[in-house]
Each structure stands twice: as structure tokens, then as C-alpha cells.
């Protein structure tokens, strides 16, 4: 039982990480290698607010807000040229550009605040959950992750914007033909993904702490979770995160801490090789033929932005 609970706490955070990176990839083919760096940057600035005597809620708000602003800022500036390319060229360039962005963020953090760490201590004694004593912070972190995932799913599955997002993820051309503006959808997704990065920062701060050097590991975990879930599949990423969290807890309990990562990574690799379409298989994805119907309902009259027109032109030349 303890294993399940511990695993879930970690797993929910992995799930949020995976969903955050998977959403953007699914939408635009940009695999954001700066994701972990964004989480850390948001956390560190949050810690500065706390260190300056700011109230906890302000710290949390600043953390999430900064993650969103950072996400949107990067998307609008350095990623703009990336979006002008298509197919594999876009994937490769996005890897390189976001890697460089991660260097910049990490570099600034390391040089300015080498020893800063973000942690939200939760007062109070451990709580009994199903007979297991859990730290209050861990429970809060798990709750936060759960709420964030639930909110993401509600957004995707019940709102008009969410449907538009899923349309574009499944079939960008089709969605465009139905009058959805990929550029606007992208803004929503980038904000959402940034907010999830902020949530990860806060949850990590609650469960343990976020240090300056954690960015790279967070990115790798996010990528692994997203790919195990079947890149671009939000539900898959969520499930993959929780499953890998459980594997981690199980491995810690059985083979000991040092071999845990080996077990976790091997589990991930085996899943990817056996089910490249994702842990949920193809069934996790809504059938393509529904796409057109959704998008027509939500999108209204035909419009395309100049951005898209430029994209198309670029495609023709490439």
C-alpha cells in the first residue's frame, strides 16, 4: 500500500510533466527540451518571493505565472522560425533550438542563484492515509497534480477550445479546412503547457524541493513519459506517468535505490519498443472520422491567419 501511495505521488507529477510536453508536441511537433528548465526557473523565482518574505500563495502564483509567461515568450520569439518549417526538419530544429534555450535558462539560473532551492514546507504532523503515514506536503502535491490533470482533461473534453485543440492534434490540415486557427489553438496550448510546468514546480516544492540543477533530469523524465504514453497523446502521457511512478516506487522497495532508475528506464524502453503507439495503444485515440464533425461545430466561419499562409508557402518551397 505504501508503495502504491508513494508511487502515485511521484507518478502524478510525472504525469503532469508528460502531459505538459506531450500537448505541445502533439499540436506542433515541437519537442520542448527546455521544459525542465522552465519548471526550475519558475520554481527558483517563486523561492525568491518566499525568501523575500512574500506570502506562500503569492509565491505559488508567481511560480505558475512565470512558467506561463516564459512558455509564451519562448514560443513567440525563438520558436517562430521553427514553426515555419515542416515535418522532420521542424522536429530536428525544434530540438536544437529548445536545447539552446535550456542552456540559456540553466546558465542564467546557475550563475545568479547557484544555491537557490524552492521548497514549500507544509506544517503539521504526518497524516494517516489507508494506514500509511504520509507527509502533508506529499499529499498536497499529489492532490495538486490530480487537480491539474483533471482540469486539463475537462478543458480538452468539455470546452470548445479543448475540442479545437484535439482536432488540431489529430489532423492539422483537416482542422484548418474546418476553419480552426492553429495559431490561436497554439496559444491556448502553450499557456496550458506553461501552467502545467508551474504546477510541477509547485508540486515538487511541496513534495520535496526544486534545485537549480534539476532542469535536465526533469526534461528527460518528461520526454520519456510523453513517449511511453505515445507522443502527443494526453491520456497516454497521464497514464504513463502514473505507471512509471508506481514502477519507481516498486523498484525502490525491491531492488534498492541505486538500481531504481535502471529499472524505470528499462521499463520505459521496453514499453516504447513493444508499443510505439503508446501505452494505451491505438484505442486511446478518438477515431479520425469524428474530427471533421467536431471542428465544424466549434469553429465557425473560415479564417486563416497570415502566419498560416506563410507556413504553407514555406512548405511549398521546402
Amino acid at each position: 500500500m505504501a508503495i502504491v501511495l508513494d508511487g502515485s505521488v511521484l507518478g502524478l507529477q510525472l504525469a503532469v510533466l508528460g502531459v505538459g510536453i506531450s500537448l505541445v508536441f502533439g499540436l506542433s511537433g515541437v519537442l520542448d527540451l527546455a521544459y525542465g528548465a522552465k519548471v526550475v526557473a519558475a520554481a527558483i523565482v517563486g523561492s525568491l518571493v518566499l525568501a523575500g518574505g512574500g506570502p506562500v500563495l503569492l509565491g505559488v502564483a508567481v511560480t505558475v505565472g512565470l512558467a506561463v509567461v516564459l512558455s509564451l515568450g519562448i514560443d513567440r520569439t525563438v520558436l517562430a522560425p521553427v514553426y515555419r518549417r515542416h515535418g522532420e526538419a521542424r522536429v530536428v530544429l525544434s530540438l536544437l533550438v529548445t536545447l539552446a534555450v535550456a542552456f540559456v535558462i540553466d546558465g542564467v539560473l546557475v550563475s545568479r542563484w547557484p544555491h537557490a532551492a524552492f521548497s514549500l514546507a507544509v506544517a503539521g504532523p504526518p497524516v494517516d492515509v489507508l494506514g500509511v503515514r504520509m507527509r502533508g506536503g506529499s499529499l498536497l502535491a499529489a492532490g495538486l497534480g490530480l487537480v491539474a490533470l483533471a482540469a486539463t482533461f475537462l478543458l480538452l473534453h468539455t470546452t470548445r477550445a479543448g475540442r479545437a485543440i484535439r482536432c488540431v492534434i489529430q489532423d492539422e490540415e483537416g482542422a484548418q479546412l474546418c476553419g480552426i486557427e492553429p495559431a490561436r489553438v497554439r496559444t491556448v496550448v502553450v499557456v496550458l503547457s506553461g501552467a502545467l510546468a508551474g504546477v510541477v514546480a509547485v508540486a515538487q516544492g511541496l513534495a520535496s524541493s526544486v534545485a537549480v540543477a534539476d532542469g535536465f533530469d526533469l526534461t528527460i523524465l518528461a520526454v520519456v513519459v510523453a513517449v511511453v504514453g505515445g507522443l502527443g497523446r494526453v491520456a497516454g502521457a497521464a497514464v504513463a506517468g502514473v505507471v512509471l511512478g508506481l514502477v519507481h516506487a516498486l523498484a525502490t522497495a525491491t531492488v534498492g535505490a541505486s538500481a531504481t532508475w535502471v529499472v524505470l528506464l528499462l521499463a520505459a524502453a521496453v514499453t516504447i519498443v513493444l508499443r510505439p503507439e503508446g501505452i494505451l495503444g491505438l484505442g486511446g485515440r478518438a477515431p479520425r472520422r469524428h474530427t471533421a464533425r467536431w471542428s465544424r461545430r466549434i469553429a465557425g466561419p473560415d479564417r486563416t491567419t497570415d502566419d498560416d499562409a506563410a507556413d504553407r508557402a514555406g512548405e511549398g518551397r521546402g
Binding site: 526538419a89 522536429v91 530536428v92 530544429l93 536544437l96 533550438v97 539552446a100 550563475s111 535536465f216 528499462l266
Partner: protein, 343 residues
């Protein structure tokens, strides 16, 4: 003057220079790098930086063969190098086996590992990103094993490589020429591939794997072969470096130390081009050294410079230079066409 032209863009398939012209870029690159020790004026530091540079470039050639050649994003160059290096260092150090046996053994192990990963990816028809993540997890597994089995590997403190001490490899300058010789083999090998039927098969597979198969190319075999060649080269470079340095640690071969730098160097130099890894490796190393005085801010500035470079020349410096050169000389040659290949 089409000499430089073909060296930087990779000649179109149908044009194949004679032996002399074909390999001249390799010879020139190796000669220039060979000048480092005499020019370094006995500075041990410079020679050791240059040794690392040459090893990085050799990793880059390996990555270039497998990714630039066949589009397999093999993100475990460092791990393959580590497998070969630790195998040789441990077998020679613990069991006292001679280097002449343990070096090839380590390389063989790395080759098998890389080929097996590629075979798996081919069999399962994994996309670029999926190959990347599977091989990335493989390299993290290797890294964690090196850290975890500390009774064997010394964990993060590393391992002093006993074998090879007292041999010529430990002389900094001779060691430098040893790794340079390996790079020469790697570059010449890449050139030989480009000039052979295998090079044609690479080009066809990169362009369209299904069309390549319909044309009669054994795509699976070609991909696994490319991965094996790359792994062998990476393994050889890793273990040679271990014996030249006399010390290895997980960090020496970590993903962030090797693969990230290799990707940056090859992408900046020009994916798939013969001299791309050389140009990219030199630029990345120079950048590292120039930025060193900045201390902690170095990484940030490094990232910013890379950002500008990637966005300015997304196809890589070598093709960009090749293109400008081609355009400049086209007028002079009276031919206004662009190179059909661009690689």
C-alpha cells in the same frame, strides 16, 4: 575549383572525383589538426583540449554516419563509448589482459550494442523521435549502471586506467596523434562510404525509405550496418581516449557531456556532410574555451550563441558555405544551377 565545392557540399551522387581529389578534404583536415601540437608550443593544456576536440569530432563523425546517413537518431554515442572504454579498462586493469585483446573486445561489444538497438528500431519501425528516446534511455541506463556498480567502476569518482600507463599512449603529444589517427580513419571511412554503393543507399534511404526498398535497397540491413559502423567508431574513440587520459568517469561519457555536444557540433557543422563534424567540433570547442572566463554565465552565453547560430544557419555551416561558394563561382563558371544534392 570544384574541389572545395564537392568537399563541403558532398558531391552529387553521379559526380565522383578520382581517389586523390576524393580524399583530399580528409587529408587537409587531418593535416591542419596535426599542426596543433607543434603550434601549441609545449602547452599540455592546449594539447589536452585538442585531444578532447579530436575525440569529440570522431564521435561526431560516428553520429553523422548513422543520423546524417540513415536518419537514425542514435542518442547513445557517449554510452557506446563508455561500454568500450570500461570494458577495455576493466579487463586490462582487473584481469591483466593485454590491450591488444581488450580494445577490440570493447569495440566489438559497443558495435553489437549499437547494432542491436538499431535492429530493434528497424524491426519495430520506430520513428526518429522514438529511436531517439529509446537510445536515450539506453544511454541513461548505462550511465546509472556505471554510477551504481561502484565496486567495479568506482562510481562517480571514476576509475584510474592502469593499463596503458608507461606506453606511448600516455605521452600527451603521441596520445594526441593516436586519437587523430583514429579520426583520420573515421573521416576516410565516411568518405569511402559516400563514394560507394552504400553511400547511394544512405542517400536514397534518407530521401524516402519506401522508395529505396522498391528500388532494391535492403533498408533494414543498411540501417543496422550504419549503426554498427558508427558504434564501432564511437567505441574505438571512447576507449582510446580512456587509455590516453588514463582516467574515466561516468561524466566523461555522460549524455550531457558527449551526446549533447555531438548533436550541437554536427547540427551546426552540417548534418551528413563530410567536414561538418570537424567544423562544428572546432567551433563548439573554441566557443567553450573563449567563454571560459565568463565563469558561471558561460552556459547561458553558450546557449544564446547556439540559438543565434541554429536560427541563422539551420542547415549547418558547411552547406551554407558550400552554397555561397557555389553561387559565387556559378557566375564565374557560367552555370547558374544549384547543386542538385545540396549535401
Amino acid at each position: 575549383m570544384s574541389l572545395l565545392d564537392s568537399a563541403v557540399t558532398g558531391a552529387p551522387l553521379e559526380r565522383r572525383e578520382g581517389l586523390l581529389r576524393g580524399y583530399l578534404p580528409v587529408v587537409l583536415a587531418v593535416l591542419v589538426l596535426g599542426l596543433v601540437p607543434p603550434l601549441a608550443g609545449g602547452s599540455r593544456y592546449l594539447v589536452s583540449v585538442a585531444t578532447l576536440l579530436v575525440v569529440l569530432v570522431t564521435y561526431g563523425v560516428a553520429f553523422n554516419v548513422v543520423f546524417g546517413g540513415t536518419g537514425q537518431l542514435l542518442l547513445c554515442i557517449g554510452a557506446l563509448a563508455a561500454v568500450a572504454a570500461y570494458t577495455s579498462a576493466l579487463l586490462s586493469g582487473e584481469l591483466g589482459w593485454p590491450l591488444a585483446i581488450t580494445l577490440p573486445l570493447g569495440v566489438a561489444l559497443a558495435t553489437t550494442g549499437g547494432a542491436a538497438l538499431s535492429w530493434l528500431a528497424v524491426r519495430r519501425r520506430l520513428d526518429t523521435i522514438f529511436v531517439g528516446v529509446v537510445t536515450l534511455t539506453a544511454s541513461l541506463v548505462v550511465h546509472n549502471l556505471l554510477l551504481g556498480r561502484r565496486e567495479l567502476t568506482g562510481g562517480e569518482t571514476g576509475l584510474v586506467v592502469q593499463a596503458g600507463s608507461g606506453t606511448a599512449l600516455r605521452d600527451p603529444v603521441l596520445g594526441y596523434y593516436a586519437v587523430l589517427a583514429l579520426l583520420a580513419v573515421g573521416l576516410a571511412g565516411h568518405r569511402a562510404i559516400q563514394r560507394s554503393a552504400l553511400g547511394w543507399a544512405f542517400r536514397a534511404i534518407r530521401d524516402d525509405a519506401e522508395a529505396a526498398a522498391l528500388a532494391g535497397i535492403d533498408v533494414a540491413r543498411t540501417k543496422v550496418l550504419a549503426a554498427a559502423v558508427a558504434s564501432a567508431l564511437a567505441g574505438a574513440a571512447g576507449s582510446l581516449y580512456a587509455h590516453v587520459e588514463g582516467f574515466v568517469s561516468p561524466t566523461t561519457f555522460a549524455f550531457a557531456t558527449v551526446d549533447v555536444r555531438v548533436i550541437v557540433a554536427v547540427a551546426f557543422g552540417g548534418l551528413g556532410t563530410l567536414l561538418g563534424p570537424v567544423v562544428g567540433g572546432v567551433v563548439v570547442t573554441l566557443l567553450d574555451e573563449v567563454l571560459r572566463p565568463l565563469g558561471q554565465l558561460r552556459l547561458a552565453v553558450y546557449g544564446a550563441v547556439l540559438l543565434v547560430l541554429f536560427l541563422a544557419v539551420p542547415r549547418g555551416a558547411v552547406p551554407a558555405v558550400g552554397w555561397s561558394w557555389h553561387r559565387a563561382t556559378a557566375r564565374w563558371r557560367g552555370r547558374g544551377t544549384s547543386p542538385a544534392g545540396g549535401r
